[in-house]
């Protein structure tokens, strides 16, 4: 495995959701915080894709924002190529980290022509000075994502969702990044368009040697795109494993149930399984008041004595990193 381009070390982020000061004083309540991300550590090797899966509210998008420095972490740090994100020397590295957002209808300025949108990163980072060179580069970027250079004249509303997401990808590529954080890049798209965008992302990765952090709630998309996969539950990583390993031998009970729960066309090949698939009981608890110990314990079929009091840490288990008492005890 090649060296890590991005390392995340004990990253935590808390959101303060307290009531206003006067209310707290009058009602005698203290501050209230949501631990959106707690104690997450991972590393992403250069040129690979790290897939982050989890259900809504598990902190995936918060991690994305922390990784590109859109928010400072409460504690812990993200290091990109040896430089701490938001720390000394980060300004010089900023260009090398980009992000693709979920909703291509909200992430492009509707009043800007596509060529301005694509030229902005080039101007901001002063990659090219001369106007003619910039417009040439913009045309090149549009071709790279399968659009026509003449499309640069148009406004975002003239494009379909898939085309807008291509533009968002082109914008991310404009500053010649090494690392792109993709936060649910295809969940607003139809499947046939999703396939086009995913194929484009893979092709660009191979051509430009990009490193991706892919965040998605769709396990099939993550499987298709990733080399390494991390599964999150209520702000914590519960399992990190190579793709093949995770899908063939999921270890953490949450991963196993999640894989089993996804409605999949493959069910047609095992009609006997249709009636008795083990749906996960219950739903995700509120992150404001997560269960004690292992956050998954109220829904877990393997829970035993220490689960509701002690929090398990990630530990090596059969070639994967798993945070589970039941597995680590063995």
């Amino acid at each position: 495995m090649s060296e890590a381009l991005v390392t995340v070390n004990a990253l935590s982020h808390e959101f303060d959701i307290s009531k206003p000061w006067l209310n707290r004083v009058l009602e005698g309540e203290g501050r209230q915080v949501v631990k959106a991300v707690s104690d997450v550590s991972l590393s992403i090797p250069r040129g690979q894709t790290f897939g982050l899966v989890g259900e809504s509210g598990c902190g995936k998008s918060t991690i994305a924002r922390l990784m590109v420095g859109l928010m400072p972490p409460s504690s812990g740090q993200v290091r990109f190529d040896g430089v701490e994100v938001g720390g000394i020397g980060w300004a010089d590295q900023r260009r090398r980290v980009q992000m693709i957002f979920q909703d291509p209808f909200a992430s492009l300025n509707p009043r800007w022509r596509i060529q301005w949108i694509l030229a902005e990163p080039i101007r901001t980072f002063a990659l090219l000075k001369d106007g003619a060179a910039i417009s040439e580069r913009v045309g090149e970027l549009l071709r790279l994502v399968g659009l026509d250079p003449l499309d640069g004249q148009k406004y975002p509303h003239e494009f379909s969702g898939g085309q807008r997401q291509r533009i968002a990808i082109a914008r991310a590529l404009a500053s010649e990044p090494d690392f792109i954080v993709c936060d649910e890049p295809t969940s607003a798209l139809d499947v046939s368009v999703q396939a086009q965008v995913l194929n484009l992302m893979r092709e660009l990765q191979q051509r430009l040697g990009l490193t991706y952090l892919l965040i998605s709630h769709d396990l099939a998309v993550v499987r298709h795109m990733s080399d390494l996969i991390g599964v999150m539950y209520l702000g914590r990583l519960v399992e990190v494993a190579a793709k093949k390993h995770l899908f063939e031998a999921p270890a953490h009970p949450y991963t196993r149930l999640l894989l089993d729960a996804v409605p999949d066309v493959e069910i047609l090949d095992r009609p006997e399984a249709a009636g008795r698939r083990t749906a996960i009981s219950g739903e995700i608890p509120s992150p404001i008041d997560p269960p004690s110990g292992c956050a998954f314990h109220p829904r877990c079929p393997l829970r035993f004595a220490p689960c509701d009091t002690q929090r398990p840490d990630l530990a090596e288990h059969d070639g994967a990193q798993v945070a589970c008492h039941a597995l680590n005890a063995k």
């Binding site: 298709h224 149930l257 999949d264």
Partner: protein
């Protein structure tokens, strides 16, 4: 047409015939959102309707239950419930039918429940509107319904407001609401799209079980092939306002015939297998204002031949699956061009 022959033996619960939904635009032009679709739903059957956004799936569902929003209107064809036309009923008549004989589950449970009323009150109200029972009986029924859809602590939850429930629980309440008058047909429009994966399976199982116990038929509108594979008996694939292919789930998903269905299945990333690269259907679904002549899929189709650009193919039955594609139409018909097929494509 094959579809109709098969329907003679046993009368289907729901029959949609040549349904056409239009939206008037300015300057007297109209936009055809659903263009002459026909399908049947048997009693107790689950029919999945899949397609990409803008294919006309939801409009089809809305017109069956009479909730098509103006300016959209049914411009042609008919909808029969148990042999009775329901597309031309007066609003008062439709009101009696809606909820009583046809239930509806919407995509977003937060908008389909009234945030100002307790969950129990909403169910009791619906029960008492449709069934002639007293308050106490309705209460009892509501609790047993909530229990049936798997709402934990159903009695206490009767007095909860919708915002106090999680997304999965709300959708269970909506399913209970749809079922409370024992409808014969339930229209479920993207019932699991707003839910997390671990909850999706729970909810579709509840929907399937509750409907199976009552013998209620379901029209399940979704874009998720996985959900369809999980619970539907038959599936209709829609493209640009037409049905491209309709047949038993296993056949359509495993041995798709229409090039669009073939492409669609190839574009779905696999959960249990690795594929080098996903199949790409080039282009996007045409806008409704610019649906191509002939077969709407022909500009994206890898098998297009000359005839496809001229004339729109009709659904042609071969064994249990009907496909609207010239490749699957007997050759002499392609050559002669059935008179009935020369539709108003140039309208």
């Amino acid at each position: 047409m094959g579809v109709e022959d098969a329907a003679i033996n046993t009368q289907p619960l729901l029959s949609v015939r040549d349904l056409r939904i239009e939206f008037p635009l300015r300057r007297g032009t109209t936009l055809v959102a659903v263009d002459g679709i026909s399908f049947d739903v048997k009693r107790g059957e689950i029919l999945g309707i899949v397609g990409e956004s803008g294919a006309g799936k939801s409009l089809t569902g809305q017109s069956v239950i009479g909730l098509l929003e103006a300016p959209g209107r049914i411009a042609g064809g008919k909808i029969l419930l148990d042999g009775q036309r329901i597309d031309n009923l007066a609003e008062a008549e439709m009101k009696k039918l809606r909820g009583a004989r046809i239930g509806m589950v919407f995509q977003d449970p937060l908008t389909s429940l009234n945030p100002l009323y307790r969950v129990g009150a909403q169910i009791v109200e619906t029960i008492r509107t449709h069934l002639n029972v007293d308050e106490a009986t309705a209460q009892e029924r509501a609790v047993s319904l909530l229990r049936e859809v798997g709402l934990p602590a159903a009695e206490q939850r009767m007095s909860a407001y919708p915002h106090q429930l999680s997304g999965g629980m709300r959708q269970r309440v909506v399913i209970a609401l749809a079922l409370c008058a024992e409808p014969e047909l339930v229209i479920a429009d993207e019932p699991t799209t707003a839910l997390d994966v671990s909850v999706q399976t729970q909810v579709i199982q509840v929907l399937k079980q509750s409907c199976a116990e009552r013998g209620a038929a379901v029209v399940l509108i979704t874009h998720d092939m996985g959900v369809v594979a999980e619970i539907a008996d038959r599936v209709a694939v829609m493209y640009a306002g037409c049905i491209a292919e309709i047949g038993p789930v296993a056949q359509v998903i495993r041995r798709p015939r229409h090039p669009y269905t073939v492409g669609l299945m190839g574009t779905i990333p696999h959960l249990r297998a690795d594929v080098a690269s996903l199949v790409q259907v080039p282009g996007v679904m045409p806008r409704l204002t610019a649906i191509p002549q002939g077969c709407a899929f022909h500009p994206r189709c890898p098998h297009t031949f000359e005839h496809c650009t001229r004339e729109r193919p009709m659904l042609t039955q071969a064994d249990e699956t009907a496909t609207a594609c010239w490749l699957w139409t007997p050759e002499e018909e392609v050559r002669n061009g059935k008179a009935a097929n020369v539709r108003a494509d140039d309208e």
